[in-house]
Subunit: 477 residues, 2 copies
């Protein structure tokens, strides 16, 4: 693997190499901006399609709001502007003229959406109002990395308004659960969820719930968040509704989002030295058929069988391709599709076809454990879906095992600090709730990823005073 | 219809009123920017879903390119910058600092896409390369109107590279045909297609093909374009491939796009005094069930039947809703859903249910011709799809009839100029090919919409010299 850095020694370089070699992305000369090449975009389309359905099932409706937001809107909610102002990209000229008021490219759409909610919400009958948007977002980040922290990214952002705080809270928790189930069931990534500490909260939120997962280098990645905004934005944007008794009230809002960061997580959780590994349920191509032949007679027979199989799978809704490239050897094809992480390779050679068999190879299994599975052509239509399910499950179990192996119970920073620095991992400890103790983690480039609901650890990891809640500590992307 | 202007006397105001009253869009304070409210966005999702499938069937793959383009990119192709520079929105500040090079928000993505093509294309084996992108676009227009000409709009843009000019031409023509079929078959809008005159060509194209259709006020709307870019961008961006003989060549490119303008066309072709009229094949909701009852006993019986019917339709993939609002009278509901243009209203009242019937009402038929169709509940599952097909066909035939009635054959501007000014319409005339004769149409706020392939008219509409080709003249949006 000459062009790909060692995944264990230099994960950051491996990540870059794999993205490039698999033709997954390409870079714009603009810092932090990159191209989603077709194979990558097909993965995002699959994610979007499944998640969109789940979001609509909650009663949320899709809409689309303008990209450009008046600067004055962003300034309306005090904490919101404080959080986002360092990251804004600003349009000052348009149509050849200097604009009277600069326009900000949305770093998130709370302000323009709640401005509209103020026009649309009049009565308790209009609540709850649940709107979702699929959009591109610009945040001018200092250090960028494709998917994980990029200048432009794609996401969905849900925004809701409710008559009661409890309504907003329930919605934030419902969406957290939907996100969690989606990530575990479709991306095969085990997660931890909980509430953020005050310092890590979304700019303008009352509470932020988050989903964290463990990447292969021991760092945590925040994969999705849901927020109880309470009345902060309804106050700032003067959203009011008449309640059942005829009194004017401010509604309680929530918002929630997941982004193309999910793609980064798939790569960093499942990838290996040979390249990407796609979870079958979201993989753009489920299986690649590689024909193996030595002469034209074999070629014709094998290729026609390969195309026939492809059609059968496609009719069943399983996207399968045939690699009929005449320039590459079968070995070069194996290498290429392993790099792209196609879950299953289907080999058909002259001996297989003689015995009416094909060979299924599991991308996820590591070389030394790899067992080829011989299946009769009659049965492959039934066998492949089962094989894909098995791989999906294997991937989740393996990631869960790794999470368990890197989850530490500890009491004191002095005990776990060194390991945290060197190896990363998740540390479950107690916390007194004091921000100074939280700040001490910066020295280790770590942070509180979330508060855990339980309280197993009696004392604070730093000051030793009585703990208020268990927390999860990790280095993070 | 107190809140809606007269469609014939003031189409522009009617358009605005209908968009607002049907809760289709809302306005941002930023000029020309507006919100796609859920009902409107659902229409766009339906359009996108069908069109996306047709685009993929041509072998094009979706990808996503950055929103922000270096200003220097836009300047690389001389005609391109000339065409787009008056419309650019420019980011000059980001992350709190002035940028070294201003960034332009994409007014179209040729430049960034062909910059990437130069990296991706090496050999004739890489061709043809066909990429499509669904994206938001910003063009700072002087006069804006939702969907028709707005600061921000949504679209798809296809970009392809071919080894030969013929390959690029074939692709541009293939896409023109796909667009034309889509508009006629799904949006029920008859179209005219042809080549643009030089002055109306896309900035940077060798030839531009377009699709034009007639709006209810007699103006033409350009609904889609495809371009043969030839080698203009491959020269500017130094895209080169090695041909089969080992020589370096510049590929020939094409590009093609349709946008949310299609939504404006649906409104302006099919809308009537009562509001929007949605073509069944793309309608977000195919039918609305309005229960009619006088007491609780009737209500329970009728509502449960309504929900049951809704489930049956949804299982068949036909989106049907029940309007169970208790605040509105049936009459107010009829009004509301007519305004939104739901193709079919299904009424269920006490007498209907007694006879085991429902009543289907066709939104498209005008009041005086409206015949209610009584259908037995057992048969409605079969009848509704047929009824929707019938409406789709009726809408196309009616629009085709109007197009015919407003299509004039003429020889001289002095003969048709007055009618063109007053009534609009499409004028088929001869043209010598001279730009001065073309310019004379500006006086009538009209233009050559496209060249027609035939040559029925012997002499130029203005100078009377020998005609080179027939053209279509109209006022345009």
């Amino acid at each position: 693997m000459g062009n790909i850095a060692d995944i264990e020694k230099d994960t950051a370089q491996w990540y870059q190499d794999v993205l490039k070699e698999s033709e997954f992305i390409d870079y714009s000369p603009v810092k932090g901006c990159f191209v989603f090449r077709p194979y990558c975009y097909a993965l995002w389309e699959n994610i979007k399609c499944i998640l969109d359905k789940k979001i609509k099932e909650t009663g949320a409706q899709n809409a689309y709001f303008p990209l450009l937001i008046p600067e004055s809107f962003i300034k309306k909610e005090a904490k919101h502007i404080e959080g986002f102002s360092p990251e804004l990209a600003v349009v000052t000229y348009a149509g050849g003229k200097k604009l009277e008021e600069p326009l900000v490219i949305r770093p998130t759409s709370e302000t323009i959406i709640y401005y509209m909610f103020a026009k649309w919400i009049k009565s308790w009958r209009d609540l709850p109002l649940k709107i979702n948007q699929w959009a591109n977002i610009i945040r001018w980040e200092m250090r960028t990395r494709p998917f994980l922290r990029s200048t432009e990214f794609l996401w969905q952002e849900g925004h809701t308004a409710h008559a009661t705080k409890d309504g907003a809270k329930k919605n934030a928790i419902e969406m957290l659960q939907i996100y969690q189930d989606f990530i575990q069931d479709y991306l095969a990534i085990p997660v931890v969820s909980g509430i953020k500490s005050e310092s890590e909260r979304f700019a303008g939120a009352d509470s932020t719930y988050c989903i964290e997962s463990l990447m292969c280098d021991g760092k945590a990645l925040q994969m999705g968040t849901t927020h109880i905004l309470a009345q902060s934005f309804s106050n700032s944007f003067d959203i009011k509704f008449q309640d059942e008794d005829g009194n004017l009230q401010f509604p309680y809002c929530s918002s929630w989002g997941m982004s193309t960061r999910l793609i980064g997580a798939i790569i960093l959780v499942h990838g290996d030295q040979n390249g990407l590994v796609m979870p079958p349920k979201v993989a753009p191509i489920k299986a690649i058929i590689v024909p193996i032949y030595k002469n034209d007679e074999e070629k014709n027979k094998i290729l026609s069988k390969a195309y026939e199989l492809k059609e059968i799978f496609c009719d069943d809704g399983i996207k399968v391709e045939v690699d009929d490239d005449e320039q590459l050897t079968p070995g070069a094809k194996f290498f290429k599709w392993e790099l792209k992480g196609i879950p299953v390779r289907i080999e058909i050679g002259p001996k297989d076809i003689e015995k009416n068999n094909v060979v299924l190879v599991n991308r996820f299994e590591k070389e030394k454990n790899k067992k080829k599975k011989v299946v009769s052509i009659e049965n492959v239509g039934n066998e492949l879906p089962q094989f894909l399910d098995k791989i999906q499950n294997q991937m989740f179990q393996e990631a869960k095992k790794k999470l368990g192996e890197n989850w530490y119970q500890s009491e004191k920073l002095s005990e776990f600090g060194e390991n945290l620095s060197k190896e990363g991992g998740f540390y479950e400890v107690g916390w007194c709730g004091n921000a100074d103790c939280e700040d001490s983690l910066k020295e280790f480039k770590a942070s509180i990823r979330c508060l855990l609901e339980k309280k197993k650890h009696p004392s604070c990891f730093l000051c030793g005073k009585s703990s208020k809640t268990d927390i999860l500590v990790a280095k993070a992307y």
